[in-house]
Amino acid sequence: MNCRNTMNTDCLPPGRRGTALFFLKKNAAPRRLGGFLFCLALFSCTQKPPAIQPAVYHWETHLALSHSETAYLDSLHCRYLYVKFLDIARDDAKTIRPYALLEVLDSTGLAGRTVVPCVFIANNVFQDIPENQLDWLAQKTAQALHSVGGQFTPNQFPEIQFDCDWTSTTRAAFFSFLKKMRNRLPEHTRLSATIRLHQYKFPDQTGVPPVDRGMLMLYNTGDIDDPEAENSIFQPADAHKYIHGAAATYPLPLDLALPMFSWALVYRDGSLWKIIPEPATETFRDTARYAPFPAGQDKRFLAKQAGYLGGQYLRPGDFLRVENIDTTALRQAAVLAREIDLANDARLAFFHLDHAIVHRYPAWFLTELCETIRPE
């Protein structure tokens, strides 16, 4: 049975490495013990992996870091900025189109930071897409990256990231696209892709993208479509289900992304209708318009009157769930992240930078999260 298997204690879960020592001590012959002591000595001379590098996502259409945002990034010693360059999706006529190409209005604050261009691609782009259109898409994407990148100085980027929640039906096309992109980008450019938790847990089923690096998104753990979900952004118990039982190592070196956003999910007729980003908390104190539901709740509301919120016209009876991630939950996420086999030079990227975040999470707290994941 398992005749080709070889002994390797690397597969022990991180919390159980002490057991490996016990195992070897108990069973090793003197010659093995000598080898083990040699390894131990070698290990003690090896440097610890470097500290986790903080990074931040910029996910808006216009880039102009404010003074407070720049100061925030400086306090965080943030050297990496993941900047969304464009979205790619299908329009009503199912034509693939680029959206929201980034405009750099002010490059102040970018000096000394490495910009990682990001491209968000809707999953349906790769649905039933012919191979020749993938060539076209790769060519157009490269063209867009070149055009948007021209606003930066320098306009050479060491890494480019692709964000797509691929599924079993779109995997082949997405992976093929990535290969084509690699051929269209400068040779030294490193490709990375976002990895959802289910993709992390089931790599055999969902596949591993042909890139150099993965950014594991430790959020979106819940069902956004379920009005009764507690918090779809992050629930430690839900996240634990994905991390627990996953293979000890993922086939790609991994960075990690944690959520720092807030949104109000609007459910109409029992299903998700709209997402309103970053709603002001005081909005829901207007008891003439919103009623906590059930009473006493501070995150769930029923619209009592028709009216606009965040550009959306709400009707009486619309159900709203306000979701964010507090510092306790972020700490729990960081503790959980210790179980993930992150890359030696891993980055911890916070999604995403905006004026509200700067006030909600102090820079020292984010530094603390980096240290929690990998103590210095």
Partner: protein, 785 residues
């Protein structure tokens, strides 16, 4: 190697497939109650989307209605006929043709306006300046009716405009979006300045309007928002707009865009609504750009409206941003503008949404993994009642353009509300109103035919055999075959009805592939099907005749499934009594296995060299015989008893999920479940209402190996039994939720002590020949010694 195996249906391939088809054909779609375990979940990467069943036909509305794409969806109709059509270009060409009294053809106008080169236009101008110039047209314009009209009539004003527009075009063409636009603002400003001069020198109001459009557009594309507004205000009053022109709305669109950029959202929204109402070629853009952020902006936009019809359009655009409409939306628009043709479209769109909520059964939800939530149904039910009231009122008042549609739809709303009697009456009434009508009336009659057939399905009674007969009859209708939703809906509906009527077997076969009864068999399902197979059901026989003339084979097949299931549940005696009911003539056709061989690798395929092959009945008889012999031998102090225990353990292990003869107890095995054993024994499986049950429990095998160990005095047999017991414990560890090891990995984990006892015990047998052999083959054993 494929991850999944389904050998049970392949072995006696002909027999099993035939029987399955017979069963399927006979019982026809129906289905079963809720599963023991939800087969799909948040982590299920195979989750499918289901958009619902629909029994509305596009012909009941004017599919060419320009508003239709915003309110109703019918497959890809609007993609092909609306979104992929360049309405703007077509409309513009028509306006040019109108201006020139219908003389030029559309193709020729299109060429001159959109495709001619600047040099061709220069030559055309020269021709227009000369008498008889039409004969001097450049080669590319020879024979072009539009160029001839321009040259013949000396229309230099038109040609000058076309030349100016041609120069503007590179600066105002919407870039394809894959690059940031690079506009030459200085040159664009120069064009604006030049254009203003030309505008003032132009006499024709037709061309003045077009110059105004070019200038406002240039300013807009140059990002000069205020200048856009100023130009609009300056130029628009300077030409006569009595003759309607699409150019006005195009220009208005650029004004609205600039106003929105300047933060004047109500002013922009109002103008977008005007465009949406009046200009089909810019309707999509207007709809997408329409934006109101606050209640105050909404009120301000309403105040800008000059007529109730304009107000109705604002309400309409606000309502259209939602999937569904409130009855208040309908009432407001109906009150302000009862003749508004969009009301019909809104009604149909709303009914499309209601179909999704109400035309579904528990089976539908089970099949597609989507649950309609109770709250959603409650809200939809309230809305449905309100909409029924409104539909009756509108049908009665006859103020809308198409009251017959509202009248017919009243019946369909009653059907959706579950009032089938009222629906039937309403359909009959609607039919009377539509007698001797034209083509639209025929379309509506066709729609009512469909709804009547749906009513017939909804009236099927799953508790009687008449449902089977009726469903065969319904399936034979041409109408049934022409509407794609009928077949899957009938399957789901019949299945739900059968399940309600305590026919779980028929329920499964109604909605799923016949193999579904084997994935995780249920006794009630099998009993129901056996009862049905034994009944003297003419439909069964009739259907069976098409495929097979021997219903006994169907019964044998069902007994075989039942026996295998009982066997897998650890009830060999019960299984044997079931399998013995299979008549000898069918028994010889049963698949055969060889579970008592010592195979120490982890393969799940039987080696092809077997000689001793037994069917399930024979295996059980053998097991029971071995047990008898073992007990007798032990009682009499004979050492052979331990060997019999060992053989029984071997048989059970080999027939488990982990053994090469797994299919003796199972019909379907998924290799993927290796990766999630702790979630078992029932695993999610597509197309199976109950998931897939795997025989991952090896405790019975372990018990027999332990008995063998306890009784044997032979170190060789003890080594064998201990090794197999170690394999059992290893598999039990794989099934433990605490296990993080992934089977198949090339790494060997440390087994917790609780699961390592027999590996440790193997050291006692280090001197046996078996140990010497197996330690070479098994890296796990080697690692643990």
């Amino acid at each position: 190697m494929s991850l999944t195996k389904h050998r049970g249906l392949n072995r006696p391939r002909l027999l099993c497939t035939t029987c399955a088809i017979v069963l399927f054909c006979f019982f026809i779609p129906a289905h079963r109650p809720m599963p023991a375990e939800k087969p799909t979940g948040a982590c299920d990467p195979f989750g499918r989307t289901f958009s619902g069943y629909s029994f509305l036909v596009p012909d009941i509305i004017n599919k060419n209605a320009a508003y239709a794409p915003f309110f109703v969806k019918w497959d890809d109709y609007y993609q092909k006929n609306y979104f992929e059509t360049d309405l703007q270009r077509d409309d513009n060409v028509q306006e040019w043709i109108g201006r020139f009294c219908g003389l030029p053809t559309a193709v020729d106008v299109d060429y001159v306006v959109y495709r001619s080169s600047i040099n061709e236009l220069i030559s055309l101008r020269e021709a227009a300046l000369q008498k008889g110039g039409e004969s001097l047209l450049p080669f590319g314009l020879t024979g072009n009716t539009f160029a001839e009209v321009l040259a013949l009539n000396g229309c230099t004003e038109a040609i000058d405009y076309l030349m100016f527009a041609k120069r503007c075009e590179p600066h105002v063409t919407a870039y394809d979006g894959w690059e940031l636009p690079e506009r030459d603002a200085d040159f664009m400003q120069a064009l604006i300045d030049e254009g203003q001069g030309r505008f003032l020198q132009t006499e024709s109001h037709f061309f003045r309007q077009r110059y105004a459009y070019q200038l406002v557009r240039l300013a807009h594309y140059a990002g000069k928002w205020q200048e856009t507004v100023d130009l609009y205000n300056y130029l628009l009053p300077k030409f006569d707009r009595k003759r309607p022109s699409i150019l006005y709305y195009w220009t208005l669109g650029h004004l609205a865009g600039a106003l929105q950029k300047l933060g004047k959202y109500p002013e922009a929204a109002y103008r977008y609504s005007v465009i949406f109402r009046n200009c089909p070629s810019k309707r999509v853009q207007a709809f997408r750009s329409f934006k109101i952020r606050t209640n105050a902006e909404w009120e301000a936009a309403l105040r800008l409206c000059q007529t109730d019809a304009e107000r109705a359009t604002l309400y309409l655009m606000r309502a259209a941003s939602s999937r569904t409409y409130t009855v208040e939306d309908f009432e407001m628009i109906y009150r302000l503008d009862p003749g508004n043709p969009q009301l019909d479209l809104m009604l149909v769109s709303d009914v499309q949404q209601l179909e999704r909520v109400f035309l579904r059964t528990p089976v539908t939800e089970l099949k597609y993994g989507t649950q309609s939530r109770a709250a959603q149904r409650q809200e939809a039910a309230k809305h449905l009642l309100s909409l029924q009231r409104l539909a009756r009122q509108v049908a009665k008042e006859k103020k809308t353009p198409n009251p017959k549609l509202w009248s017919a739809m009243t019946g369909y709303l009653e059907l959706l509300a579950g009032d089938e009697y009222a629906a039937q009456k309403s359909f009959a009434l609607a039919r009377k109103q539509l007698k001797d009508g034209g083509s639209y009336e025929k379309a509506l009659l066709h729609q009512i035919d469909i709804w009547d057939l749906l009513l017939e399905i909804l009236n099927l009674d799953g508790s009687t055999a008449t449902a089977d007969q009726a469903s065969f009859r319904i399936r034979s209708y041409d109408l049934f075959k022409r509407v794609p939703s009928f077949e899957p809906f009938l399957q789901d509906f019949l299945s739900a009805r059968y399940a309600e009527s305590k026919h779980p077997g028929k329920a499964i076969l109604a909605a799923y592939d016949p193999a579904a009864i084997t994935y995780n068999p249920r006794m009630d399902v099998l009993e129901d099907l056996l009862q049905l197979a034994r009944s003297d059901n003419p439909i069964l026989l009739e259907e069976a005749m098409q495929i097979d003339t021997n219903p006994a084979r169907i019964i044998a097949r069902l007994l075989e499934i039942k026996g295998a299931y009982l066997f897998s549940m650890g009830q060999p005696e019960a299984a044997l009594s079931v399998l013995r009911q299979i008549p000898a003539v069918e028994d010889v056709r049963m698949p055969k296995y060889s579970p008592f061989r010592e195979i120490f690798d982890e393969k799940i395929h039987r080696p092809i060299t077997d000689s001793l092959l037994l069917n399930r009945r024979e295996i059980i008889e053998k097991l029971l015989d071995y047990e008898f012999r073992a007990k007798a031998s032990v009682a009499m102090g004979k050492p052979v008893g331990a060997w019999y225990y060992y053989l029984i353990g071997l048989g059970y292990y080999n027939m488990s999920y982990f053994g090469y003869e797994w299919e003796a107890m199972d019909y379907f095995r998924s290799g993927y479940n290796w990766m999630r054993l702790p979630q078992g024994p029932i695993f999610p499986l597509r197309n199976s209402p109950n998931g897939n049950r795997e025989n991952i429990d090896v405790s019975r095998a372990l018990t027999y190996f332990e008995k063998a160990l306890a009784e044997t005095q032979s170190p060789e047999l003890a080594a064998r039994a201990a090794f197999m017991a170690a394999r059992c414990q290893q598999k039990q560890w794989f099934c433990n939720p605490e296990c993080t090891y992934k089977p198949g990995s090339k790494q060997i984990p440390i087994l917790p002590e609780l699961y390592r006892g027999y590996y440790d015990r193997m050291r006692r047998y280090a001197n046996t020949a078996f140990y010497q052999q197996i330690v070479k083959e098994c890296s796990w054993l080697r690692a643990y010694q």
